[in-house]
């Protein structure tokens, strides 16, 4: 029963791991372009397991930001995980003791949450471990490949690949924004504000721009278009 759940987790983790392989490749390239070593990029991926937080994190490292800025940026960008963790915690198997919760919490990402949240039966620790192992393998290996490629490939290819990670972010936000007016307004407002900050409030570092724009655009969204339980994605 236990090992069956583990195998099932591994199976469910494979598509996630493959997807992570390509996103983290983009992260590896971005990190190395910012002067971060292959080993550091790998450790960042292993210890954080999150795309947007890491992407902004390496920006802060490269621009020698403060640790307070780093902490606040991670808090805001990754705040959604708190909500996912909360939601997952409602449907855990009885075998999910506190110790297991401490370990499995490491692996709460958008994709792993999505897979676990659609399960009808209570989630067991071994099932989550199965998914997390495959996802983490894809995430760290992709980072390593991207970072290593960043050190080997010719400069003009590397600069073209620098857009990869942002291209993926576009691919994440454009489809829901084009179908959903409220998301479109939030996304457009955040983009406009961030552009204004970039050119007119130049004393703000990129991390604080993300915090200010992310929070204010989301507040406006929550105020103008409150989301009812049923339509939550």
């Amino acid at each position: 029963m236990k090992s069956k759940d583990f195998i099932l987790g591994i199976k469910d983790g494979i598509p996630i791991g493959l997807g992570y392989l390509s996103v983290s490749f983009g992260f590896g390239i971005t990190a190395v372009r910012l002067g971060i070593s292959v080993l550091s990029a790998f450790i960042i991926s292993l210890t954080n397991l999150t795309s947007a937080g890491q992407a902004e994190g390496v920006n802060i490292i490269a621009s020698h930001g403060t640790l307070i800025e780093m902490a606040l940026v991670q808090l805001v960008i990754n705040l959604r995980y708190a909500l996912m963790a909360l939601s997952l915690s409602q449907n855990l198997d009885r075998s999910f003791t506190l110790r297991h919760r401490f370990i499995a919490a490491y692996g709460i990402t958008d994709e792993i949450f999505a897979v676990c949240a659609t399960k009808k039966e209570p989630i067991t620790p071994v099932y989550m471990y199965g998914i997390i192992i495959v996802a983490t393998a894809g995430w760290t290996f992709g980072t390593f490949l991207g970072a290593a490629a960043g050190e080997i490939l010719p400069a003009d290819i590397i600069s073209a690949l620098g857009i990869m990670l942002y291209g993926m972010f576009i691919a994440i936000i454009v489809p829901p924004a084009s179908k959903n007016k409220s998301i479109f307004v939030v996304v457009a407002f955040a983009a406009a504000m961030s552009t204004l900050c970039r050119y007119f409030l130049t004393f703000l570092s990129s991390g604080f721009v993300v915090i200010i724009c992310g929070i204010s655009a989301s507040l406006i969204g929550a105020w103008l278009f409150p989301v009812k339980e049923a339509e939550k994605t």
Binding site: L67, A85, A171, S178
Partner: protein, 99 residues
Amino acid sequence: MSIALYIIVMAGVTYLIRMLPFAFFRKKIKSVFLRSFLHYIPYAVLSAMTIPAIFYSTGNFITAAAGSVTALVLAYFDLPLIVVAIAASAAAFGAGIFF
């Protein structure tokens, strides 16, 4: 400052955000406003991170713009993440040959 310090703060904060609610909270968030706010956060944050930074991501405004437009169009037609990302890079690389 040592990069290890940055990584410890980064990983520590990210872990606590996941672990605290997962391990200790047992109630649901009832406030519609708070739930809505959390619902919009990922879109708002990704948008603010991407624009205008994407235009500086290749070190050349024109090649980055070519890649950005490609990404926007393909994403609009719901193509998979990896296809959008590779096409954006290819467009930036192609534009780099001319500019």
